[in-house]
Point group: C2
Chain length 278, copies 2
């Protein structure tokens, strides 16, 4: 099968590596508006050739759109305008906006909304690696709006990447992700900013990080290019969660300020329930 | 050397294992007010015998106080009252309160304040394990108030545990720890509470946790017995940091709410500086 990967960063690049290595893709055309990324992807063998988006789509059976969220929203209708029988899928971590935008597009059924939930804090074609997706979850959204053969093809592709399928509608996807992913990132970014502001001595941060900071702050290494648009596009859900989160922090603050150690203990014991789940 | 370990949980138990295995301690007497913990520690071989605190101290050269912070503050003067020439050290993660309490004790110089920075989210003698301390940092506080031979002895002990020594006064210790450890834990507890409150479907949490939640929330598995007293005893510093942290979260909220994506990006790029340090 001939495939195009539009967006040759960590996500698209890592898919390209394993889809070829594992025999799903015979030929991979890469597209990237960033010339350095495109050049690098070709040089390190992520793709067989680099072409324009038009040519890439014309010459593919399957098109994978793996750009940052704002680009994906911008490109999706344009790509659906261009296809004939090609199947299109994206990897975007926000689904509601895209779903709205293409709801009535005549080629809607050729598109399969998917969100492979994997990543590292690194980005760019250099960060691409084999095995990134193995054992992780892929969320399919609104599959009833895609034609069955398109869903089958995209599912087959994610089967090659060893991903566990989950199904939900775009709206629920965005709500759940706000809770389980987006707030974790804001929490980590804010934590990094707090510590960087106050600890002028970087050696202290390094020396003392094993006290918990290193694990909580890992996500603060994630890129602005990816995350600013996510927060923007899922703003309503993210703001709701952020309010709840700030409320919980204020409860801790209040309990610490009034020396209500029993109340602090109760909150921690409640939080410990997460042990049973994870 | 004969040593006593008062408090046979993760911290004291893990020290006992390696101090014997690596030849520092010839005989280890265990003390724990929790009978089940004491019994378990003896049964699984963490200690050679269990005794009362009085007898244990009488029969030791070195006393390690490894109880939760509130117990340590309660016990430290009592232990200094009981010693003759024994050296006493503690593992408490808050140092200011203890320092205040024993400032003018006639046996002050036999005590060495130390904070070995290691742990897991598990607790109790069952959680004790070899190698817990290898390569981690141990912070010595106010060493000028301890007699040199006591410092030498305690340093020798932590050398057997392969710990990297750091030195600071108790006040600075508590400020730094509020930033680099305590706030990370509050952040994780609050995050767990937020998600547990809203995600009624635990399977969703499990399925989607790889989106960042799993790493950020790891510390939320930590015990109330240990952490509630830490927040209580370091309340002033923790409240200052918590205020800054909530301010940063409010900046994110404001920027998301007013769709200032550039400002969100700027904050993320600033937070990314943590990459260079960790």
């Amino acid at each position: 099968m001939k495939i195009s990967v539009i967006g040759l960063g960590l996500i698209g690049g890592s898919m390209a590596i394993d889809l070829r290595k594992r025999g799903f893709a015979a030929h991979i055309i890469g597209v990237d508006s960033n010339k350095l990324h495109a050049h690098t992807a070709l040089n390190i063998g992520l793709v067989d050739e680099i072409d324009t988006m038009d040519n890439a789509i014309d010459n593919s059976d399957l098109v994978i759109l793996a750009t940052p969220p704002n680009e994906t929203v911008r490109l999706i209708s344009k790509i659906l305008d261009m296809i004939k029988n090609q199947i299109v899928t994206d990897t975007c971590s926000i689904k509601g906006n895209i779903a709205e935008r293409i709801k009535y597009h005549s080629n809607r059924s050729n598109y399969v909304a998917a969100h492979p939930m994997a990543g590292t804090e690194n980005s760019g074609p250099w960060a691409a690696k084999s095995g990134l997706y193995d054992g992780k979850a892929v969320i399919y959204c609104d599959v009833e709006n895609s034609k069955p053969e398109a869903v089958t093809q995209v599912r087959k592709m994610y089967d090659y990447l060893n991903m566990r399928p989950l199904y939900m509608n775009s709206y629920n996807h965005d709500v759940h992700l706000a809770y389980v992913s987006h707030i974790s990132h804001i929490s980590a970014f804010a934590l990094a900013l707090t510590v960087l502001d106050q600890e002028k001595n970087e050696k202290n941060i390094f020396d003392l990080a094993s006290g918990g900071f290193d694990s909580t702050v890992r996500l603060a290494k994630s890129s602005a290019e990816m995350w600013a648009p996510i927060f923007e596009q899922n703003s309503e859900n993210v703001l709701t969660v952020l309010d709840t989160y700030i409320d919980k922090l204020n409860s801790f603050k209040e309990a610490i300020n009034t020396h209500k150690t029993d109340q602090i203990s109760e909150m921690i014991v409640k939080a410990n329930r997460i042990k049973k789940i994870l």
